[in-house]
Structures are given as structure tokens and as C-alpha cells.
């Protein structure tokens, strides 16, 4: 694979109005590339593994930035940087789970420029795919990561369908736990989808990790007040403490009724192509208190249905232990 220090020749559009960006996205279609902080984009382009003809830089559109109160919760503009989220008082007070997630994304430098929208829509880190091989995800007819000889330590244990890549986004699991809604705009209008529906697996669309169409722009993320100020747990396990992607991570929200869990959402990252919701754990957690005993009872449920590949069996005890730790907290 060719690798260069310089960017390829590519046109750069820097609209300052959303309407202009939508028009550009519509005109350019498959030839265009939406640009947030660029932290995923520049690697693709420098490696010459993706070949857009033009980039549409969204960071100059003021309406896509910032945190706003809405009738039911808050709305975060898609180009709000991760650093801005980490420092936002309201998010810290009410939705600390998102702050915990944003705080472990990559490195401080990347969090300074990386945007929430970019973190959510970034592509998978499967190195066979990133290297530019013509795998299923790249439109080809095979998966190089799923065979007896493949190196698939970081790949999925749930939801494989020809492709075994995982979602790399730390904030995706936090927002799925918080039952966030994604606001998507196109020239045809606005549509709002839940985080669970926003992320799609290879069984549905093998060439995209989200339901975002080529001519659509993720403009904002709405977090409802339902989980505001509730009990949160976030933990990311990676090979390095900074500048690394999760091997397995967990985001959990719990609504307590006295000592007992009245309602909860447990989401795992790094184990599937989408944030993986542990519905069986959520059902079993109802009415339980946070204790060592509950932790042991629920932990084994986390890996039910998992189908590990050759080199990622270690993810099973890892996700069980993360559930155990969430229930101890």
C-alpha cells in the first residue's frame, strides 16, 4: 500500500451555512467526503485507500457547533469538539457518562480537534480494510480477517455477517446507553433516528457503519433527560492508556429505586460492528442492588451468544469482568 506524508489532490469546500453544505453533499454524492476534525479522514487520504474528489469541511458552520438546552434534554452540535464536551458544565453535571467516554478518546491533541460527529461516524480500524484490501467492506467479495490464519485479536465476537470489524467509537456506546437521538439532514429534510438504529451491522449494510446516506449530514445529537443525573459507569480496556482503541469497553446507565436498580442500559464497545446492547443483563439487573453478589450473577450473561474468532477469545472474560465491575460500583 502506498503511504504518503502529503495529502492527495482534493478539492476543499468550506461552507459556512448548512444549506450550502447540504447542496454540496447532494451534488458531490459518492465523490464527496464530509470533514469534521479530520482525524479519521487524513489517514484514509494519505494512505490513498479512499479517493474522494472533494471534501466538505463542516467545521465552519456555526449552527453545527455547541451545546443547547432543548425541551427534553440537550442537543450537541455534530462539530462540537470532544474537548468542548469534556469541559461543558451541563454535560458534566447531567451526562457524565459522555464526558467519561470523550475523555478516553485517543489523545489530548486529537480531542482538541476531533468532533463528536466525527467520532461517531469514523470508520472501523480493521487493518485489512484500512490497508486498502478489497474486502467485503470495501466492496469486494471476501473477508481477510475471518479465517483460520487471520490476525483478528481486535475483531468482533457478536454480529458477524461476512465482515468481522468492530465499531471503534468510544462515544457511540455512551450515547447508545443514554438513548441519544441522531439528527440527520439532507435536501429532503430532517430525520431523527435513535443511536441504536444509527449504527448498522454488516448484515444490513456491509460498506457503512451507520445509516447515514451519502447525501446526508449528521447535524446534532440529542440526549433525552431520561437518564440525566443517573448512575453511570464507563470503562475502556485498551492495550495503551492513551491513543488507542478499545479492546472492550462498557457504558452503563442505571436508574435506582433506593438500593435497587429500577431500569438500566448496558452497552459494550469493541465486541461488535455496532454498540452491543446487553438486554439480558438489563433484564436480570432489574431489582438487583449493586453488590458483589449481583455482579457475579450478572457477569456471565455478558458473553451469552458470543462467537469468538481465532485470536479474540480473551474478550469473553473481559466483557464479563466489565459487567462485574459496573455492578460493583
Amino acid at each position: 500500500m502506498a503511504s504518503f506524508d502529503v495529502m492527495p489532490d482534493v478539492q476543499l469546500y468550506q461552507p459556512t451555512e448548512l444549506d450550502d453544505a447540504l447542496n454540496l453533499a447532494d451534488q458531490l454524492g459518492d465523490k464527496g467526503w464530509l470533514l469534521g476534525g479530520g482525524q479519521d479522514t487524513y489517514g484514509w487520504l494519505k494512505d490513498r485507500a479512499k479517493h474522494p474528489q472533494a471534501m466538505i469541511d463542516l467545521t465552519g458552520i456555526d449552527t453545527l457547533r455547541g451545546v443547547r438546552e432543548i425541551s427534553d434534554g440537550i442537543e450537541i452540535g455534530a462539530t462540537t469538539t470532544l474537548r468542548e464536551i469534556i469541559r461543558d458544565e451541563r454535560i458534566n453535571r447531567d451526562y457524565g457518562l459522555l464526558v467519561s467516554a470523550a475523555n478516553v478518546v485517543a489523545s489530548p491533541q486529537i480531542r482538541n480537534v476531533g468532533t463528536l460527529g466525527g467520532n461517531l461516524t469514523q470508520d472501523t480500524r480493521c487493518w485489512y480494510y484500512r490497508r486498502g484490501l478489497d474486502c467485503y467492506r470495501a466492496g469486494g467479495n471476501t473477508c481477510y480477517a475471518n479465517s483460520t490464519e487471520s490476525m483478528n485479536r481486535e475483531h468482533c465476537v457478536f454480529g458477524a455477517s461476512r465482515c468481522v470489524a468492530v465499531s471503534p467509537s468510544d462515544t457511540a456506546i455512551a450515547l447508545t446507553a443514554l438513548d441519544a437521538k441522531m439528527v440527520i439532514q439532507s435536501l429532503q429534510g430532517e430525520r431523527v433516528v435513535t443511536a441504536e438504529d444509527f449504527f448498522v451491522g454488516p448484515d444490513t449494510n456491509i460498506t457503512s457503519m451507520t445509516s447515514l446516506g451519502r447525501r446526508e449530514i449528521l447535524t446534532a445529537i440529542r440526549i433525552p433527560s431520561k437518564w440525566s443525573g443517573k448512575k453511570f459507569y464507563f470503562e475502556k480496556v485498551a492495550d495503551r492508556n492513551v491513543w488507542d482503541f478499545a479492546l472492550v469497553s462498557i457504558a452503563a446507565v442505571m436508574s435506582m429505586d433506593g438500593d435497587a436498580i429500577a431500569d438500566s442500559r448496558f452497552i459494550l464497545g469493541g465486541v461488535a460492528c455496532t454498540p452491543h446492547r446487553l438486554r439480558n443483563v438489563e433484564r436480570a439487573a432489574r431489582g438487583k442492588s449493586l453488590s458483589e453478589e449481583s455482579a457475579d450473577a450478572l457477569a456471565s450473561l455478558a458473553s451469552v451468544g458470543a462467537d469468538p474468532l481465532n485470536y479474540n477469545h480473551f474478550k469473553l472474560p473481559l466483557m464479563e469482568n466489565l459487567v462485574r465491575r459496573a455492578m460493583r460500583a
Binding site: N141, T142, R162, V200, D203, N205, S211
Partner: protein, 252 residues
């Protein structure tokens, strides 16, 4: 417009990736044009009175054959819908539905072949030299199946066998409830398999479009009815077939 698309394998060698799906639109337009032109041609022909469906009935298709036909039809439509919609941009979880339909089609085609060889009169559907000689002679009526029907059956048989065999090879390269996938096929062989599967799919789109069109033509509706009910009338038999060459049971 290319027939195939190409990619580089893991060693950097150019190999076939699969069929060029741009051909789908060519097939759809071509089938549409054939149907429209045939419809115009037939509309300009003078036709005599249609044979009556009243009176004595003759059995054309046994119940087991009708069941085979409709299971084949439903599985074929399920395969085309689940296979083609994602290609034209309608995203849904199609793969499991596709291979389950494929296995149903494989099983029913296998059963149909065995029944045709060992139980039924296989020769009645095979194209003979006499069929070709008499193809343009309007004074000669066919036996159970006309040359056009035999031609359609032969074409669909060949293309369906290709789509089934290539589909089973592709299925073997997937994770299934019964086995884990391997990378045991070379990328070149896999590309050829995808190409054959794609080309046979395109052929089926065209053939099935024509099959449905001809089945729905007014003069052929009695054949469609017989595929539901099993019978045609004696009047329909004598108007379209030579009783000397096809002497069916008279008790449907």
C-alpha cells in the same frame, strides 16, 4: 459497459471480483422492451375465439408438481428480492433470508429433478429435433409442452443450476450455524464464482420477467389456472395441443 468488475487480490494480482451490476439495468430495459414489442405485435394479430374452459376437464399438472412449482417460484422471488434490493440501495438484513431461500430452492429443484427422471415422462419437456422442425409450422400442434415452453424450461433449468451451484460454493465460504468460514478458495476462483452467480442472476431476472409476462397473457391464462387448479378443459386441449402426442388423464 463491463461484464465483470475487477480487484487486486492480497498479492496485488488483478482478479475478477464479480459481475458488473450496471448490467442489471440493461437486462431490465431489454426485458421491458421485449415485453412491450411482443405485446404490440400480439395486439395487432387477429385472434379467433378463445377455447372454452367449460366441459370435461383434463389433468395437466399433478398436485405435487404444482406444489413444487410454487415453492420454486416463491423461493426464487425471495432470492431475487433479497439479492437485488441491497444492490440497488435498499439496505436490510438480507443474507440469512437469502441463503435460507437458496437452500429451499436447492432442495426443491433436487426433488423435482429426481421426480422428473424417475417418476415423470422427462422426454415430454425436452426439446427434440421434431420440435425445431415444426416450430414454425402453425398447422402442427405440440404435445404437452410447446417449443417456447420447452425452451423456457431448458433455459431456466440451466441458469438455475448455475445459480444454485455457484450459490452453494459461496455459501460454503460463509459462517453458518453448521460451520465456520475458511479462506480455502483462491480469490481468483471466488471471483469467478461471484461472476457466475451474478450472470445467472441477471439471466434469471430476464427469464422470469418473460415467464411471468407470458403466463399472464390472455391466451395463456388457462395454463396459469392449471398451475393452481391442475386442469385444463378438453376444448383448451384440442385448441392448443395434439391429442395424438399428449394423452393425459381425464380425471383431474
Amino acid at each position: 459497459m463491463d461484464i465483470a468488475t475487477y480487484k487486486h487480490d492480497v498479492w496485488g494480482t488483478e482478479v475478477i471480483r464479480g459481475v458488473s451490476w450496471d448490467l442489471l439495468w440493461l437486462v431490465v430495459v431489454a426485458a421491458f422492451l421485449v415485453i412491450v414489442l411482443h405485446g404490440i405485435y400480439e395486439a395487432r394479430q387477429e385472434r379467433g375465439e378463445q377455447p372454452s374452459s367449460d366441459g370435461d376437464r383434463i389433468q395437466r399438472h399433478q398436485k405435487i408438481d404444482r406444489i413444487f412449482h410454487w415453492i420454486m417460484a416463491f423461493s426464487m422471488f425471495a432470492l431475487l428480492i433479497t439479492g437485488i434490493l441491497p444492490i440497488v440501495g435498499v439496505n436490510f438484513a438480507w443474507l440469512s433470508l437469502h441463503w435460507i431461500s437458496g437452500l429451499i430452492l436447492t432442495a426443491i429443484v433436487l426433488a423435482h429433478i429426481l421426480r422428473s427422471i424417475f417418476v415423470k415422462d422427462l422426454k415430454s419437456v425436452l426439446i427434440s429435433a421434431a420440435d425445431i422442425r415444426e416450430g414454425r409450422d402453425d398447422s402442427k400442434k405440440p404435445g404437452k409442452y410447446s417449443l417456447a415452453q420447452k425452451g423456457m424450461h431448458a433455459s431456466v433449468t440451466v441458469v438455475t443450476l448455475v445459480v444454485i451451484v455457484s450459490g452453494l460454493i459461496m455459501f460454503a465460504m460463509l459462517d453458518t450455524p453448521w460451520w465456520d468460514r475458511t479462506n480455502s478458495m483462491s480469490e481468483s476462483a471466488l471471483g469467478w464464482t461471484f461472476l457466475l452467480h451474478g450472470l445467472s442472476t441477471l439471466a434469471l431476472v430476464g427469464l422470469i420477467s418473460l415467464h411471468v409476462y407470458f403466463a399472464l397473457r390472455p391466451e395463456n391464462l388457462f395454463y396459469l389456472r392449471s398451475m393452481f387448479s391442475g386442469w385444463i378443459s378438453k376444448d383448451e386441449l384440442s385448441a392448443n395441443h395434439d391429442p395424438e402426442r399428449w394423452a393425459p388423464d381425464e380425471s383431474p
